[in-house]
Structures are given as structure tokens and as C-alpha cells.
Amino acid sequence: MASHDVRDVLNLPAEGAGFRPAKKQKTAVPRPNLKGLAREVQNLGGDNPIAIVPEISTFKKRRFGSRKPAARWEMRPFHNSARADGSLHLRHWRRRTEGQSGAQSQDGQDAGEDKKETEQKSEELDDSGFAKFNVQVDVPQYSEDQYNSNLTNNDWTKDETDYLFDLARTFDLRWPLIWDRYEYSPKLPGGAGNGEGADTTDPNTAVIPASKVRSMEDLKCRYYEVAAKMMAVQKPVQYMTQAEYALHGIMANFNPNSETQRKKFAQNALNRSKEEAREEESLLIEVRRIVARQERLNQERRELYNRLDYPHTEQDINAFKSSAGLQTLLQNLMSVDKSKKRKPIMEANGNSTPTSAQPPSAHPGSTPTAENSHNRRESIAASTSGSAHRDSIGGGERPERPTKKGAQPPERKKLTEQEEQIYGVSHHDRLSSGPTFRYERINKILTTKSHAQHQRITNTLAELDIPSRLNMPTRSVVEEMEKLLTAIGLLLDMRKMNDKIDAEIRTEQAKKAEREKALAASQAEGGAKAEGESSSQAQGKSGDKGQVNGNKPATNGEPADKAANAKTNGEEPATNGTTDGESDETPDAMNDDEAEQVKEEAGDDRASRPGSSGGQKRSASVLSSVSDKSAKRQKK
């Protein structure tokens, strides 16, 4: 079936022109011919030319363009001043400069090598261009004396400090390196070689000091401490320039703890995971929101309080508490009112300053004098209205005091630390205002003491070869002097205590000697007596008693020749009845002589007490009564 039959059936126009797609016309536009690309490759792109832009490299043919002679290069020896040895000579290629080349190209080739050599020697070997990068770090130096006076530290020995500074110099203050290589082993004082020798000689050195593990911060801290101090020693703070001062401040304020903490934080921050970071962020946002809300709340509350609070006054308002005071206040306010009416310009820009609304206690200080004179009142009125005016500017809230205080600091310029040093400004918590002298402080310490104490202190100072008047009572000297004085006070206290104890010891010793003497005597007595047993018993008793009463050692038994005397003393124990018990206890079989002796001893014991010396003054009647008693007892 041909196509036209089908067309017939379908009732389509036969052989309709245009229906058949016309034969593809050849694109007349000639393709830009890209050089260097195969035609096939170009055809791959079809209608759209492929987007390869060929780089047309235009090498300029500049060969022999400039007819200058080729630059001459030469091997030239050089040295590196950064090297410590200075003997190493290397050679490198260098372009020859014009002046040289003219002379040398002929000379150098013609004349022998040696001549060239000498010429170059004479013109000084080149220094290496890299020498300048060998920067030496300026590590502070200190002498033995300076170390002892300024730099001593409990944690650091001088040896170790030296070691640290050595390392710092070696590694040019590269702290990680210094820390890495830091291996300080303290020297053993008594020769590290023979341990046994050290053991036997000194017990201190027997223990091998464990080398401390120092963190980088420790090392830095020590280094900066020493550096800052040495800086201050060489140039007092007042004389430093701004840059030096800043450096000094940084070094002096180095805080190893905060530094370690900072590092720890950084470490943590680097180590956290993504989730943690996200969480942290959200928490931070939350916190910020809370804080903001809190602040707003606080402010609102403050505002509320301000509204509720009556305006504070710094002046005394007692003058207005009486009715007369109120009257003057009223008058004053009226005058203020009048003056305001007279000067409307004053509040032209203030929107509303009704004087009646003016808080009555706002400016009370000026009122008491208001009735003095008209002029005066005028000025006061002006001033009060002026401040009222300021109030009105302040708006609804009247932070009267805050604005006053806030206004002051800008008046006074803030001094830098260095300026404070120069002008001798220092800050203290408590000061009594007014002029004083530096030395007064020491004077006060000395004069508040009693005369004797003062004398003792001056004597001690003389002993120490310190003049009583300081030569230069600067702040540090005075502080040092105070320390010295407290130390001296301590010393004097100790001396006093020492004297006291000395005295006590002396009395104790005297007592002991006496006791021993007595003991010896009584023993001799006891030996002589046949009935030593019972007497010694009694002695023990009386000894106990003596101890209880006067904390006195039992000085038993006086020599026999003192017996009469002892008997007169013996009345006291007899009257207070202590001997009664004793004599009761003594066995009945004891004969009179023995009982007599016991009594004597007891009495002696008492008598030896200083307090009972009054017993000797007893009247004879008492004595007789006592002797009666004793006689009765003896009859028993």
C-alpha cells in the first residue's frame, strides 16, 4: 500500500506541500575554524560550536632582542656572621656588579687566582643574606648579688634558675622546646659520686631530691618573674618608657594558673564533638536570653523602686522638721516660684517644671539661709531653679544622685599606671584625709609604746646597728621598718618570757636544793632513831599535806636544834586541826617523845611555807592553849 492510498482513505490532502519536512538545509554559517583541532572533533559539537577556547599562546620571539652582554655571574665565597665559628667559608653564585666586572674580568682571568683571592679578602667577605634572621633573644642577666637581693624564690634554687635561663638562651625562648628539653636534676651538695660518703657526712643530703616536674607555665612564670624584676632593677618603673612599662606590666602580671586554665579550655574546645558544640551553642543562646530577661526585669524593678522612693538628700533635713522650719521652707519655695516667673527663659526648653511639684526636700540645704538677705535669696533661688531645671531634663525617673556621681569621674582624667608612678599616686582602702608625713607612721609605732618598751626597742635597734631615724623613709623602707619593728616586738616578748621562766627555774632550783638538804638531814635523824618507822610514816603524811596546801615539797624534819622554834610555828597546824587526825592515827603505843617529834615536823612543814610566816606573830595565849592541847594529846 502506497502512501497516497492511505492518504486517500484518511481523506487527507494528497502530497501536501510543507507537510513533508523540508530537507534539512545546510547551515550556511561557516563554522569558525579552530586551529589545532581535528575536524571530527569539531563536528562533535554539532550546531553549537564547542566551548573550547584555544589558548593562543603568543610567544614573543625576543631572542636576541636586547643585544646586551649576558650578565656575568661568579662564584664568590661568603661567610655567615650568624655562625659562631666564623671559619666556614662557602661559595655561591653572585651576579657581578658592573664596576667590578670591568676591572675584574680582565684582571681575574689574566692574573693568577691568588691575586683575585687577596682582592676579595680585602674587600671583606660577603655576609650571608640569612644572617639577619639569626636574632638573638635578649635574655636578662643577673649577678650573684642581684639574685640574692631580689630574685630568691622558695621554689627555685639559683642553680635551677640558671639552668632555665641557659635553656631559654639556647632555644631562643621557644617555650615548647624549652619545656621539652627541661631536665633539671639538682646537684647534690656533697659530691654526687659517692653516695655513701654523702650518707655518712650529712643526713640532709642522704635524701636524693626528686627533680620536680615543671609545667611550661611554671617555667614561664619563673622566667617572667626574674625578667620583670631585673627590668625594674635596671630601670625603676618611673623612668621606663611607655613600651617598656607595658612590657614590664605584662611580665609582672603573668599568672600561670590562668594560663593553664586557658590552655585547658582551648583543649576542651578543640576536643568536643559536633553534637556537643551544637548543644553548647543552644545553651549559650538560652543563657543570653535568660540574662537579657533578667536585666529587663531588674531595670523595671529599679524603675519601680525609684518611683516609690522619696528623693534622697545629702543634706541635713532636721532643720525642716519643726513647724518653723516648714514655714521657712514654704517661703523659700515661694521665692523660687517667683523667681521662676520672673525668668521664664530659664525653663523655656524644659517642658514642665511645676515648682509646686518640686520635692520639698530636694534642696533643703539652701533654705535656712534664705531669709538672711534678699541678694542671697536671689542667688539661691537661681541655683535651685537651675538644678530643678536639670531635674526636668532628667525625665520621669529622677536618678538625682547617680547623675551627680556619674558626672564627676569624667572631670578627673584617668591616670595610667605609669603616670601614677610618676606622680606618686597610690590607692588605699582606708585613709584618714589630710596631709601627713611618711615617717609619722614609724613615729607612731614608737611613741604609742610605753617609755620602757620604747627604750628597749631603741636599744635593740642600736644593737642591730640601725639608726633610730630612717635615712630615707620611702614607702618600701617604711614597710620594711614596720616589719622589723614587729619582729623586734616579738623578740622582746620572747625575752620577757625567758626572764620569767628563768626566775621560776631559779626558785624551783632553790627549793629543790633546800629539799635535798632537808632530806639528807632527816635521813640522818631517822638513822639515829630506833623507831624510825612510825616517824617516817608521819613524815609522809605531813608531806602530803604540805603538797596539798601550798604545792610545796615536803621538807621534812628540821635539825633538832631548831625544835623550839619549830614548836612555836607549829601552832597553825595545830589550830586548824590537821594534826589531830595525825596524832589520832599514830599508834597509842607511841610514846610522848615520838608524838612530840611528829608535831614538830608537821609544824615545820607549815612554817617553811612563806604564807604561814604570820604564824610566828601569834600571841602567847594561843601558843599556851596549843601547848595545852598537845599536852592533852600526849596524855592519850
Binding site: E411, I422, R515
Partner: protein, 276 residues
């Protein structure tokens, strides 16, 4: 004196070093002849002074000094005003910067020195006492001998004037206008010029490497002792060292004392226990 307007600057202390004292010279025929009109029994000429350290200006905080001499001296209350000194200084090459009284006499006595501060300070006058020295003194013979040979008997005292909580205005006076010695007083170039000038001079002196000069109107103390200027950081360091050593010694003594006291206490306790 009415206190000036403004308040005291709380918690602030400012100090100014100064020197006061006496210098005495015996009369002799060669270099210190007795002037005409001086009584025959007078043996020395002496002067009492109050001045800044290294002869710096102190007139900006010290307005007047009253020296109270011995009553036997005619006109024994001598009052010196900074203003009159400055007036006299006008047109003179060498400026006097100290409060000085020159006298002759034969005896030592205590001089009462009353310092009146600048009127802007609003502070009450303060009193110092100084013993006039005519004859060599000292703790040791050597010190005395040195003084004898020096021809002068010097009794100088270093002191620091402390202003505790100065009034605002005075605070400003005390904390501004520091400048290198020898430079003219500020005010000519205005404020900006002054600040600039100060910086420049500071830098140049740094270059010279000798900015060890005490600045005018500052509280600075010279670094090193110079002839005629015995008070310096150096002297301070010496004194500090001496005090520290003394303190160490005292501590040592305290420790020893402590030890002996402890031993004695033990002895005492033993004695007591043996007695019991």
C-alpha cells in the same frame, strides 16, 4: 581656710619627696670669716632649709614655711613665702627653689618647721621638728671624724609629704604637669603642645640613654646618689638591704630565744614534776 569646692578624692594618696635640715659651718679666717656685726660669741654660721629633692620645684604644693628659731634670736619667727621667693627670682639667672633661713649662732636647739600647703589644697599646716646641729655628731667616732673633716655639719632629713585624699582641684595640680628638668613651665604652647613636647623630650632623652633625671612636679626620686644629693633610689636600696638583714637577724634571735625558752620550760616542768 575655707575648703575649696569639690570633694576629696577617696582612697587616694599622693606623696612628694622633700628634704629639710640644717647645714652649719664654723667660722674661721680662711673660707668662712665672721661677717661684720655678728656678735663675738657666735661660733657658726648655719642655715635651715626645706627644699625639693634634687632642688626640684616644691612651690606648687608648698606655699609658705615658718621656721621657729630659738627665742633668744631676734625675730625668731621667720616666715618665708613661696610667692616672695618667686618674685625675687624674677630676672635672676640662678633661681632659688628652697625655703631657707641663714643665721649665725653658738648653740644647738630644736627648730620648729611649719609647712603651709598650697591654698588650693585646703589642708591645715603641719609641723616638723628639726634639731639644729652645729657640732659633729654620729653614732661612731668615724662618722664624727668624717663630718669634722668635711668642714660642714650636715643634718638633712628626707621626708615624704603624703596627701591623703586630696581635694579634686589639688589632685589635678598634683597629677599633671610633670616635665623634664630644665624645660620651661607649661602654658606657653597650650595643652596639646605641652603633651607633645613632653613625649618628644621623653623620647629624645631615651635615645641619649640618660633619662635618669627627676621630672619636675613629679614624685620621682633620683636613681643614683650624687654629691650634695644624698637621697636616691640607691640610698633607699642600701637602707632596705640593711633593714632586711636586721630583720633576718632578729628572726634568728627570735628562733634561738624560742628554742631556749622551750628548753627552759621543759626544765621547769621536770623540776615541778620531780617536786610533785
Amino acid at each position: 581656710m575655707a575648703p575649696p569646692a569639690g570633694k576629696r578624692v577617696k582612697g587616694v594618696q599622693i606623696y612628694r619627696p622633700f628634704v629639710y635640715g640644717t647645714t652649719a659651718r664654723p667660722f674661721n679666717d680662711t673660707d668662712n670669716p665672721r661677717p661684720a656685726g655678728v656678735p663675738l660669741d657666735h661660733t657658726h654660721s648655719w642655715q635651715v632649709f626645706v627644699k625639693g629633692i634634687e632642688d626640684t620645684d616644691i612651690f606648687y604644693w608648698l606655699r609658705r614655711v615658718q621656721f621657729k628659731l630659738h627665742e633668744s634670736i631676734p625675730n625668731h619667727l621667720r616666715t618665708i613665702d613661696a610667692e616672695t621667693i618667686m618674685k625675687e627670682n624674677e630676672g635672676k639667672g640662678k633661681k632659688q627653689r628652697a625655703f631657707v633661713v641663714n643665721e649665725t649662732g653658738w648653740g644647738e636647739f630644736e627648730i620648729t618647721i611649719k609647712l603651709y600647703y598650697d591654698s588650693k589644697s585646703g589642708e591645715k599646716p603641719q609641723t616638723l621638728y628639726h634639731h639644729l646641729r652645729l657640732h659633729p655628731y654620729g653614732r661612731t667616732e668615724a662618722e664624727k671624724e668624717a663630718m669634722r673633716n668635711g668642714g660642714e655639719v650636715i643634718a638633712w632629713t628626707y621626708e615624704e609629704q603624703l596627701f591623703n585624699e586630696p581635694f579634686e582641684e589639688f589632685y589635678k595640680i598634683l597629677t599633671s604637669g610633670a616635665r623634664d628638668k630644665g624645660t620651661p613651665a607649661s602654658g606657653a604652647g597650650g595643652k596639646g603642645g605641652k603633651g607633645k613636647g613632653k613625649n618628644v623630650s621623653q623620647q629624645t632623652s631615651d635615645v641619649d640613654g640618660k633619662n635618669n633625671e627627676v621630672k619636675e612636679r613629679s614624685a620621682m626620686i633620683p636613681l643614683t646618689t650624687k654629691p650634695g644629693q644624698p637621697f636616691s633610689r640607691e640610698a633607699e636600696a642600701v637602707e632596705l638591704k640593711r633593714l632586711k638583714e636586721a630583720e633576718e637577724k632578729v628572726h634568728q634571735m627570735v628562733r634561738e630565744m624560742n628554742k631556749t625558752v622551750k628548753a627552759k620550760e621543759a626544765e621547769l616542768a621536770a623540776l615541778k614534776s620531780s617536786a610533785a
